[in-house]
Symmetry: C2
Subunit: 339 residues, 2 copies
DNA sequence: TTGAAAGCGTTACCAT
DNA sequence: ATGGTAACGCTTTCAA
């Protein structure tokens, strides 16, 4: 029964079968356009019989509305970014906008390529993670003629809208909190390169805060971002070797924090008595681990929802020419058992 | 300097500026097509000057090749599926195929809608996770006239290619392994509904194996899939209440297994001495946790790569009319400290 | 190697 | 409420 499909049916085919023009089919297939109930029924029937599926490639070409929102994230395997994408998708689906998702592997050159390939699809808006881009990528975005949103960061020179927070401040805040609790010999565990610009900002915040507080920064960088759990454990081991008297560590993410925690457990060090540990991101893991991890909640899903709002404001005509907005999202330290 | 963009430049604009026909531009912009080096240079220059970006919506309409591979996964926030998507993306990018990703939230009706909306984009192949679909979804896929791959499962009645493994067998194997190690009062922790069909299959495998071994199945179902870490902990608590003499639990995923592990730790139960725990998926977490988790490795990334291979065989003409293939992937029990 | 013409399948626009 | 016609921006096809 492998009936070779000669050719997919088009609107014209449906129109012929229903005895109407293809314009009428076009209208009947959309909720808003005018069409009599009877006509709609006939057309629906014909479409079902033929197994017709609208070709939105053609529709997009004609209407200049592809229904795409292009979104780039550093990694597809990251709970925080996944939450943001969920927020975005949910916030967009009521208006029939589809997320076209791509990931950059924390690589600006990959991002540039990705942005170009996405722009070819003529998305109606472009959402990127982070505020550091190649020159060409910046140009592409600025000239695309569509709303642009940079998320998860506060770029010095925004391209369009911004929905983010200061990664620097999160680690400063965490650092001060630990200081208040009496910790003085606080270390930092993060990735070895600055590919993860948000991670690099958090490290910078840590260093600044330490100096302000009159403490020496103690940084252990370990591997290419994103730093894994296992690398977090390795970093803690290195740190203990170099600074055996360390009494707390701030980690670039909950994953590395958990790795550090596990390393402590293997070594028989108790957390937080022997060493306190703080993470970032408020992953499920942080809440569940024993001891649970003190961390930073950054409301990843809200970032996505807010981004969707800004995009929609521009796109649905409510505010098509609004000036670029910087939406500063709040974060909060979640104190748990580990610090 | 907010220069209002009148209209995005087209090939015709580039052609005019370069003093050639738009056909020549079309060819020059692609690596393969014939065009003299000099012409290429001129055209590249003109394109750069205008900030021209190819419109692949129009290109796709004309060539009937959109360059999309549609992929559906249950959840975007799942390390295993993320790995599969990575494998797919990597395996596809050399030939300029782009993954169009969507998630179903473990809901067959959402899947149906998603598949239709993706089919409208005229992808060149369709890859779905799992083998259970609504009737309409099946029809849509079967009639789409493109290669279809069902992953992560072994459907009874495949639509096209299959790249999967028997979820039932994974838990049977785990169950037998625990039995061999001397455990007899083995429980199972999973989701409360069958939305996660792969999870439901694993539970079935557990039940079958237990009966074969002459043991009573003890199942604690807890919450809608995907079951979280916290729910895994809650499920363990319930299980201990109902069957205080339990000596091992098999969990539907490493996440719930970790939740169960943490619950044990909070209760002062040692793992595996008081109770053994096994997970599924071989997440980073399983390797890192203390004690590390015995689990099932299913080679998620390989599933993606193999899927890419099958799609490419059909698409690149090497084997355009090949019969549907079922590619049985292997899995393995990873024995660690927890069981 | 290059160009001209004819679509690709839909929607915008203007009539009726 | 419905239909006719002309795009939309590209590639295919056929010629030169």
């Amino acid at each position: 029964m492998s009936q070779e499909r000669k050719k997919a049916p088009t609107m014209a085919d449906v129109a012929r079968l229903a005895g109407v023009s293809s314009m009428t089919v076009s209208r009947a297939l959309r909720a808003d356009a005018p069409a009599s109930a009877e006509t709609r029924r006939k057309i629906q029937e014909a479409a079902d019989e033929l197994g017709y599926v609208l070709n939105s490639t053609a529709a997009g070409l004609s209407s200049r509305k592809t229904g795409f929102i292009a979104v780039t994230i550093p990694s597809i395997n990251n709970s925080n970014f996944a939450d943001t994408v969920r927020g975005l998708t949910e916030g967009l689906k009521d208006v029939n906008l589809q997320v076209l998702l791509g990931y950059t592997d924390y690589d600006m050159n990959a991002e540039e390529k990705l942005i170009e390939s996405m722009l070819r699809r003529r998305p109606e808006a472009l959402v990127v993670t982070g505020g550091s881009h190649t020159g060409r990528a910046r140009r592409l975005m600025a000239n695309a003629g569509i709303p642009v949103v940079e998320m998860w960061d506060l770029p010095e020179k925004p391209i369009g809208h911004v929905v983010g927070f200061s990664n620097r401040e999160t680690s400063q805040a965490m650092c001060r909190r630990l200081y208040e609790k009496g910790y003085r010999r606080i270390g930092y565990i993060g990735g070895a390169s600055s590919r993860d610009t948000r991670g690099a900002d958090r490290r910078r915040g840590y260093e600044e805060a330490m100096r302000e507080l009159g403490c020496d920064p103690r940084v252990t960088a370990f591997g290419d971002p994103p730093i894994t759990m296992r690398q977090g454990g390795g970093a803690l081991a290195q740190m203990l070797e170099r600074w055996p008297d360390i009494d707390a560590v701030i980690c670039v993410s909950d994953l590395s924090a958990f790795g550090a925690l596990c390393e402590c457990q293997r070594r028989g060090l108790s957390v937080p008595q022997d060493i306190a540990i703080a993470g970032f991101g408020n992953y499920d893991l942080a809440d569940c681990a024993v001891p649970s991890l003190t961390t930073v909640e950054v409301h990843a899903e809200r970032i996505g929802r807010r981004t969707a709002e800004l995009v929609l404001e521009r796109l649905t005509g409510e505010n098509p020419d609004s000036a670029p907005v910087t939406s500063l999202m709040d974060f909060q330290i979640i104190e748990r058992e580990s610090a």
